[in-house]
């Protein structure tokens, strides 16, 4: 790599500038949303208008207003501040679950694609069987076995989404294994491990950046789904799923308690999907 470094003059920097210059509006908006929630996750106090845990029964179940931008809950707590407070934990669950499922999928998917033969058939069958079980049901299995808690939620979502990713990674690896440039490298006398390291892995992994981006959003949706069913994090924590579960009982009297946390989940996941889709288009050479 270093040998040809001088031949590839400052390519990454140029590409970054080009990327920023050609950014479409919807992607810019999505990046802004992601930035906002990241800030909320790192420094929630900076953006909050109220103390998210301060109970004020005199102003309970108020609809959105100038004082309480997104209304209040049954204990008079400010919903806007609570949603921001929950961003950190929701993000952590989403990232953790994605990291787990991607690690499992990467190890198994890459192993299956590279090993081929018996190991490949066994692993592929296992992916097929796990893929045959709906994601949420697979997650429910883990909650049943380990009982509801944050780690269980992360594991449940992580394992639930892993089979799909593993299949994708395996397919990606196999298609690159069959490309002309891998064959060309082989006919140049390159040892197989070197071909894997220099051609197959880098090319198979680049679509993963897009997949991970979209995956984090999906993981948050699944995790909040579990929490919505009351099988996630316990209520006092203002995690988005917990807010959704708490709001369920008030949906008929105070719609905002249910709609607003759901909106946070949706626009965050949507933003990640837009950015991920944009990355994917760029990788595929569509602009």
């Amino acid at each position: 790599m270093s040998r040809s470094a001088e031949l590839t003059v400052s390519r990454p920097l140029g590409e970054l500038l080009e990327f920023l210059y050609h950014i479409p509006f919807r992607v810019a908006a999505a990046l802004a949303v992601i930035g906002f929630f990241l800030l909320a996750a790192i420094a929630p106090k900076a953006l909050q208008t109220h103390d998210p845990l301060a109970i004020d029964l005199s102003s309970s179940l108020q609809p959105p207003s100038i004082v309480h931008w997104l209304g209040t809950d049954q204990l008079g707590r400010d919903l806007y501040s609570r949603v921001l407070e929950g961003a950190g934990q929701s993000l952590a669950i989403g990232l953790g679950a994605t990291a787990l499922s991607m690690s499992v999928a990467l190890i198994l998917g890459v192993a299956a694609a590279l090993a081929g033969g018996l190991l490949d058939s066994i692993l592929t069958r296992i992916f097929d069987v796990l893929f045959a079980i709906p994601t949420l049901l697979l997650a429910l299995v883990f909650v049943t076995v380990f009982g509801p808690s944050v780690p269980t939620e992360v594991i449940a979502v992580g394992i639930g989404t892993a089979p799909g990713y593993a299949r994708m990674i395996r397919g990606q690896m196999l298609s690159i294994k069959g490309t002309g440039y891998v064959e060309a490298a082989k006919s140049l006398g390159r040892p197989f491990p070197r071909i894997v390291w220099r051609h197959i892995l880098p090319n198979a992994m680049s679509p993963l950046t897009a997949m991970v981006t979209i995956g984090v959003g999906q993981a948050i949706i699944w995790a909040s789904g579990l929490a919505f069913l009351g099988l996630g994090v316990a209520p006092p924590a203002p995690e988005w799923g917990a807010l959704l579960n708490a709001g369920r009982n008030y949906v008929i009297y105070a719609w905002w308690l249910e709609i607003i946390p759901g909106l946070a989940v949706t626009i965050f996941a949507l933003s990640l999907t837009i950015v991920g889709g944009h990355l994917q288009d760029r990788l595929e050479g569509k602009s």
Binding site: L130, L138, L140, V143, F146, S224, G225, L231, G262, T266
Partner: protein
């Protein structure tokens, strides 16, 4: 080529193909059963203790005698291999075990509840298909504000959590506008909102795939050929392009089943509908493992069935496919 004609005919015989598919489907179900069995064994803590807790509803150590009687009743004192053999044997006879909490056969509980869930899933699948195809016919290959709006809506719908969409529909149409019944009705009107909530998300996925393929096929030379014969744009879309565009979508229907069942669990809870959703959530929170693992087995079976139907449908639409 002619010399191999006989071998070819056997390999292409639909019955041979069908038999092979049935066998591989059975293998998937068997593997799922093994997985379901392993879940029950892997349960941390003493299973007998959990059963007692589930039954009594309190947490606390039970007397050794009580534990021993439970162990003997469920056969937990036997070696794992024997338990596994018994499990598979009972499964072959349609016995999926007994619910810890309800003291009833799991097969019976699931059979009671699965009807409304499947009805919901099928209705949603159908509706998702109709929405996706109509949208695609309208907007594919056109460059106007509608195509931009609708393709944006597809991405949005594919991302929206179904339970949230369901809640919004519930608040708007049932609570505020009072067009549909609020909760828990199994009437046809009661099916509309849950179906819509489930279908919209799926139509977003289908729509993106079908639209993509449709746009690609619109540029294919055989479409230009048809236009050059004097075929109208609508004719080209209906007679040539749609069939091609539907193929990848049909392949997705097998995958969609998993998505639909996941979504149905959530949506049944939102609308308090009868179905597997409520049962599963209750079983999960009370750690009633036999019901959850029974559901795993059933959904794997359904997946195998749907995959088979999808493959058959694909073959009918695309005669190029060899039976492999």
């Amino acid at each position: 080529m002619n010399g191999n004609e006989a071998v070819k005919r056997i390999a292409r015989n639909p019955l041979v193909w069908f038999a092979r598919r049935i066998l591989s489907g059975a293998a998937v179900v068997w593997a799922a059963a093994t997985f379901a069995f392993l879940i029950q064994c892997l349960l941390p803590g003493d299973r007998a203790q959990i059963i007692i807790n589930v039954r009594s509803g309190n947490v606390g150590s039970a007397a050794p005698a009580e534990l021993a009687s439970i162990n003997a009743q469920y056969g937990f004192d036997q070696p794992l291999v024997v338990q596994y053999a018994n499990y598979i044997w009972r499964m072959l006879h349609g016995d999926l075990g007994e619910s810890y909490q309800q003291h009833r056969p799991v097969a019976g509980i699931i059979a009671e509840q699965i009807g409304p869930t499947i009805a919901l899933a099928l209705a949603a699948l159908l509706m998702a298909w109709i929405i996706a195809i109509l949208t695609t016919l309208l907007i594919a290959g056109r460059d106007n504000i509608w195509s931009k709006l609708l393709s944006g809506a597809q991405i949005f719908l594919a991302t929206v959590p179904p339970y949230w969409l369901a809640t919004i529909l519930l608040v708007v149409f049932a609570v505020n506008l009072r067009i549909f019944p609020v909760v828990g009705e199994n009437s046809p009107m009661g099916l509309v909102l849950p179906t819509l909530a489930l279908a919209l998300e799926l139509s977003g996925f289908f729509g993106q795939v079908v639209l993509n393929e449709f746009t690609r096929v619109l540029e294919q030379p055989f479409v230009t050929s048809a236009r050059a014969r004097g075929m109208s744009d609508l004719g080209v879309r209906l007679h040539h392009v749609l069939r091609h565009a539907a193929l990848p979508g049909i392949t997705l229907s097998g995958w969609a089943l998993g998505k639909l069942l996941s979504g149905a669990i959530l949506i049944e809870v939102v609308f308090a509908r009868q179905g597997l959703g409520g049962v599963l959530v209750a079983a999960t929170s009370s750690r009633d493992v036999p019901i959850v693992s029974g559901a795993v087995l059933i959904s794997a079976g359904l997946f195998v069935l749907v995959s088979l139907i999808v493959d058959l449908a694909y073959r009918m639409l695309d005669p190029r496919m060899e039976l492999t």
